[in-house]
Symmetry: C2
Subunit: 343 residues, 2 copies
């Protein structure tokens, strides 16, 4: 889909959360990343070699990945200029922003003249159908969140890998640009036409009869006033057997919304379960994933234990402590076909 | 925006709900509608003269309005053929379907050659922003529903007109193709990119300080698994002071979803209020609009009374009994600026 090796773009980003696509590739496809591109005023780094476009091309990079994100995803002039530089150095350019590279005529002409590709990861599939909510077979787990950018993708990837480690069949189903770049496929659900949100997810996770899992990457939050519609359609389309709630305990305000508090974990979980029952009446909570990066080890462990006591659910930081508590819970949960009348 | 007079298209439709756009124009802009176009196998009529494309043009029609709708809005070959016939007769063609007239090359070429317009009503505004949920001034009422196509647009138009009749300033804010055709403007919210649902509604209904009302047309239902994401984003973007719940008591199944029951009125209202509080903490229910077309007068009246007793809210059929019960309630409700600590 997108030719590696990659040069990862940080540009002038100053927000660590804003470079999560570049960081995701550095984390999950490290061998495909030759370096990072950042301007002098960018205080962030992924720990990769800082390279110019030309240096990256000389080291074998094939594609500059504009792995930055901000609400709405506008295409700033400075970003366009940097994309020009990448093309001049002989790199393809891939972007996950809402505004499309192919919507910038000067880039389109320049790429064409040089025989290079502009790849808009956020282009949704062309022939989506509206969702139906009809019951379909298969085991599906969806990560949901108290906010945007709290670790849903990481948790989903870790849970899918953990299930596979235990001998289960499990596929990560990407719904955002970072996940799609990591997995090589998926549906950019926040970029589909609104009528097709749930249908896009039904199409991404069709019925399966191999007893395997689809681990679906959630987006946004039912409590985020910018994006809750996406989260709800995703929840209905996913028709999940199990929910895992993701949360960043260091987050003081909803992302991009100064002054707006995050929801309470219990309220958030209850609201997600209530909404999910519309298409998955037997849905259950399988655990909580906390992003404890801001805490020391002892505090992180204590928070997980306290949260587990409070919510009576497995709680872990998948990055720090792995996913075993949730996997143990899932492996004792009978598959829905055996429990249609209970739970 | 779209040049009247109109020829209203019924085509081969057999579902009375599916022609609601054509019916909406016939009802709310009767002087602009010269006739209806339907094939021999169409059992429906709007009571307008049945005209061929050429006859309509001879009677002064300027635009064929493809006023039919179905889930997803595909552009069938037979529809394209009829659009060709309209262009051949010298009519512009307007459509509210998801699939665009301008996406059909043969139509584009033919219209251009004849100097006629193809108008896609469902094209969203080009520069939408993501919603913020920030408090904004103004009085806003949103109609919500137990299902799609239960009378939200009719109720909204009637409530806006009723408020004006009582001397208030009130504007109908259209969010669907029919409403947009009637009002001459609005945002086709189900056609915007998913990330921008709430932002589109914030843009449609900016802060106002004239003490006037925005009466916002709702879409879908929080309980409709195909479209609930749209409904939730609309609810958050509308930041409504007041909700009016619309319901069709004759509806046995959710529209387009055989076997799926409609939600209970109380549950549906409670869930809408709960979700609305995210951006409008003081939101209140202002009444229920029932579409009693399938009932006789006595039964309709009895149902309104019984529902009013059960829910302790004003209940009416706006088409049959007018909107006075709800307007009376609204006119006694203090504006939110006076009640931030209560209700």
């Amino acid at each position: 889909m997108i030719e590696p090796p990659f040069l990862l773009y940080l540009g002038r980003s100053t927000d660590p959360v804003g470079i999560k696509t570049s960081r995701g590739l550095a984390t999950f496809r490290p061998r495909d990343c030759v370096g990072e591109f950042r301007h002098d005023d960018c205080p962030l780094t992924l720990g990769l070699p800082r390279l110019s476009m030309d240096d990256a091309a000389a080291r074998g990079a094939k594609t500059l990945v504009l792995g930055i994100a901000h609400a709405g995803g506008a295409m700033a002039p400075a970003l366009i200029e940097d994309a020009h530089q990448a093309l001049a150095a002989g790199l393809h350019v891939a972007s996950g922003l809402h505004h499309r590279l192919r919507g910038v005529p000067s880039l389109v002409a320049f790429a064409k003249a040089r025989g290079l590709r502009l790849i808009d990861v956020r282009d949704p599939p062309p022939d989506l159908q509206v969702g139906t909510g009809m019951p379909r077979r298969g085991r599906r787990l969806l990560t949901v969140g108290t906010d945007c950018s709290v670790g849903k993708m990481y948790a989903s990837l870790a849970l899918a890998a953990g299930l596979r480690d235990r001998g289960a069949v499990a596929d990560f189903r990407a719904t955002g640009q970072t996940g799609i770049l990591i997995a090589g496929g998926g549906v950019p659900v926040d970029a589909v036409v609104a009528d097709f949100i749930s249908g896009a997810i039904e199409q991404l996770t069709p019925a399966r009869t191999d007893a395997g899992w689809d681990v679906i990457e959630g987006q946004g939050s039912l409590f985020h006033p910018s994006f809750a519609g996406v989260s709800l359609g995703l929840l209905h389309g996913a028709q999940p057997e199990a929910l895992v709630l993701c949360h960043d305990p260091a987050r003081r305000e909803m992302r991009g919304l100064p002054g707006r508090h995050l929801p309470d974990l219990e309220d958030c979980l209850a609201r997600n379960l209530e909404a999910a029952r519309l298409t998955s009446p037997q849905v259950y909570a399988a655990g909580i994933c906390l992003n404890t990066a801001a805490l020391d080890e002892a505090a992180a462990c204590a928070l997980c234990v306290a949260t587990e006591d409070r919510l009576a659910l497995p709680v872990t930081d998948p990055h720090r402590f792995g996913t075993d508590p949730i996997l143990d819970f899932l492996c004792t949960a009978p598959s829905p076909s055996a429990t249609t009348a209970s739970r």
